[in-house]
C-alpha cells in the first residue's frame, strides 16, 4: 500500500467519527438529504450522499431526528430535523468534541509531542 492510500484510508476513518456531529449541527432547521449535502459542501465538508442518506435514516431510528415527507414540491422529499432528544445529544457531543479537540491539540502541540512547533 503506498503512502497516499494509507493517508486516505486513515483520513476517512478520522472523518467518519465526526460525521454524526456534522449532520446534527446542521439540523436545527429541517433539511432534506441533498440540501444537507450542499450545505456541508459549502462549509468545506464534502460528504458522499451514499453515506449520508443511510446515516440519516439510522439517526431517525435512534430517535435523534424526526422526519416528514414534503409532497408539495415537484418531487417528494423527506425532511429531517433534530428531535428534542437529538438536541440534547448534540449538546453533549459538542462538549465531547471540544474537549477531544483540545486534548488532541495539546498532545500534538505540547512540549513532548513529536512535531511540536
Amino acid at each position: 500500500m503506498d503512502i497516499q492510500e494509507t493517508i486516505q484510508s486513515l483520513t476517512q476513518e478520522l472523518r467518519r467519527g465526526t460525521l454524526v456531529l456534522c449532520v446534527l449541527s446542521q439540523l436545527s432547521e429541517p433539511q432534506y438529504g441533498y440540501s444537507l449535502v450542499s450545505i456541508l459542501e459549502e462549509k468545506g465538508l464534502s460528504i458522499d450522499p451514499g453515506t449520508l442518506y443511510p446515516l440519516m435514516r439510522r439517526l431517525e431510528k435512534q430517535e435523534l431526528l424526526v422526519s416528514s415527507w414534503d409532497t408539495n414540491e415537484a418531487r417528494p422529499r423527506k425532511y429531517y430535523q433534530l428531535s428534542d432528544l437529538g438536541m440534547q445529544v448534540y449538546q453533549h457531543l459538542r462538549q465531547e468534541w471540544a474537549s477531544l479537540a483540545e486534548g488532541v491539540n495539546r498532545l500534538m502541540n505540547g512540549g513532548e509531542g513529536y512535531g511540536a512547533n
Binding site: G33, Y34, S38, P49, Y53, P54, R58, R77, K78
Partner: protein
C-alpha cells in the same frame, strides 16, 4: 432512465420488505437532485446518469450501509471451521463410497465397469449432499449466533466468566469418532437403500456365493424414509461434534435424543414380524447351511424364532440404548463438575 430503475432495484431488493418503498422514494429523489445539479434543469444525458450512479457507488455497499450490517451465510468467525469440517465430511463420504465400490466389485467382478460408473455418480451426489448438509448446519449456527450476539448487546455486558471452558482431556472429542460415524452412516444409507438382500448369512460353496437374507426387502423398504431421516440427523450431529470438538451439554442432549430416535425406529421396525424373511429357515436348509431335523437346525430355529417372533431383539436394543443414555447422562454430569 432505465439505468436508474435498475440501480434503485439493485439496492432495495437487498433490504427488508417494509423499508423498500420509502428508501426507493428517497433514493430516486436523491438521484434526481444530483442530476438536476449537473444539468441545471435540462434533461440529463446517459453519460450524466452514469456519472451520478458511479458517484453513489456499488449498490450492494449502499444496501449494506442502509442495513447497518453485512449479511453472511457463513461469516468470517465460522468460516475456518466450516472449511475444515467440510473437508473432513467429504473425505469421510469419499472413503465410504470407495469401500462400497470395492465390496461391490469383489462380489460381482464381471460388472466392474458398471460399478465404477455408478461409483462416480454416487461420489458426485454424495459430495453435493455433504456440501449441502454442512452448509445448512453452519448457516443455522451463523444465524443463531448472530441473533444471540445482537440480543446480548442490549441484555447484559460480557463477563470473563462467559469465556468458554478450555477443552478438558475427558471432554475432548477426537475427530476420528465422528469421521468413522459419518463413514458408517453413508455406508448404511447405501446398503439399506440398494442392497438389503446382502444383509444375511453368507455362504461360499465351490466358489458360488449364496446369501440368505435376514429381511423381507419389500417390507424393509417401507421403513427406508425413517432410516434416511435418522441417519441424516445422525450425520448432522456428527458435523456439530466436528465443529465443537468437545462434549457440551447441548451436544450430549442431541446425542441422547438421537439414541432415543434410533430406539423408536428400531422398535417400530422389529415389532413388525413381516419385516423378517419368512423363508429364512427353508432357505438355510436349501443352501445346505443346516440339515432339516438335525440338532443344529433346532438350535438355529430357536434363535431365529426368538429374534423374529419374540421380543429378544427389542429387549437387547432397548438395553443397549439405555446403557448408552445413562453413560451420556453421567458424562454430562462429569462435564459440568
Amino acid at each position: 432512465m432505465e439505468l436508474i430503475d435498475r440501480y434503485v432495484y439493485a439496492v432495495t431488493q437487498q433490504l427488508p420488505e417494509k423499508q423498500r418503498t420509502e428508501i426507493e422514494k428517497e433514493l430516486r429523489g436523491l438521484i434526481e437532485d444530483m442530476l438536476e445539479e449537473r444539468t441545471h434543469g435540462g434533461s440529463p444525458s446517459p453519460k450524466e446518469v452514469e456519472d451520478v450512479l458511479v458517484e453513489l457507488g456499488n449498490p450492494s455497499e449502499m444496501a449494506d450501509r442502509y442495513r447497518g450490517s453485512k449479511r453472511y451465510l457463513i461469516g468470517p468467525g465460522l468460516f475456518t471451521s466450516y472449511i475444515s469440517v467440510l473437508r473432513i465430511v467429504w473425505i469421510a463420504i469419499g472413503i465410504a463410497l470407495g469401500v462400497m465400490f470395492m465390496i461391490e466389485s469383489i462380489m460381482d467382478p464381471t460388472n466392474v465397469l458398471d460399478h465404477f460408473i455408478d461409483g462416480i455418480v454416487s461420489v458426485v451426489i454424495g459430495l453435493t449432499q455433504g456440501f449441502a448438509w454442512v452448509t445448512v448446519v453452519f448457516g443455522i449456527l451463523e444465524y443463531t449466533g448472530a441473533q444471540k450476539a445482537r440480543g446480548k448487546k442490549t441484555e447484559q455486558a460480557w463477563k470473563p466468566s462467559d469465556l468458554p471452558q478450555l477443552p478438558q482431556y475427558k471432554s475432548r472429542i477426537s475427530p476420528a469418532e465422528p469421521i468413522a460415524s459419518i463413514i458408517f452412516s453413508v455406508l448404511f444409507v447405501v446398503l439399506f437403500s440398494y442392497s438389503t438382500d446382502l444383509l444375511g448369512v453368507w455362504r461360499f460353496t465351490d466358489g458360488e456365493r449364496t446369501v440368505i437374507p435376514f429381511f423381507n426387502t419389500e417390507v424393509f423398504s417401507r421403513f427406508l424414509p425413517y432410516i434416511w431421516i435418522l441417519l441424516a440427523v445422525g450425520i448432522l450431529k456428527e458435523i456439530m461434534k466436528l465443529n465443537t470438538r468437545r462434549w457440551t451439554t447441548r451436544l450430549i442432549g442431541m446425542e441422547i435424543a438421537v439414541t432415543i430416535l434410533y430406539l423408536i425406529v428400531a422398535v417400530l421396525m422389529f415389532s413388525d414380524a413381516a419385516i423378517w424373511n419368512a423363508d429364512f429357515m427353508q432357505q438355510a436348509v436349501d443352501s445346505g447351511l443346516v440339515t432339516a431335523g438335525s440338532e443344529g437346525y433346532s438350535t438355529v430355529n430357536t434363535v431365529w424364532e426368538n429374534i423374529t417372533e419374540g421380543l429378544a431383539l427389542i429387549y437387547l436394543i432397548g438395553l443397549v440404548s439405555m446403557i448408552q443414555v445413562i453413560s451420556l447422562i453421567v458424562k454430562a454430569y462429569r462435564n459440568k463438575a
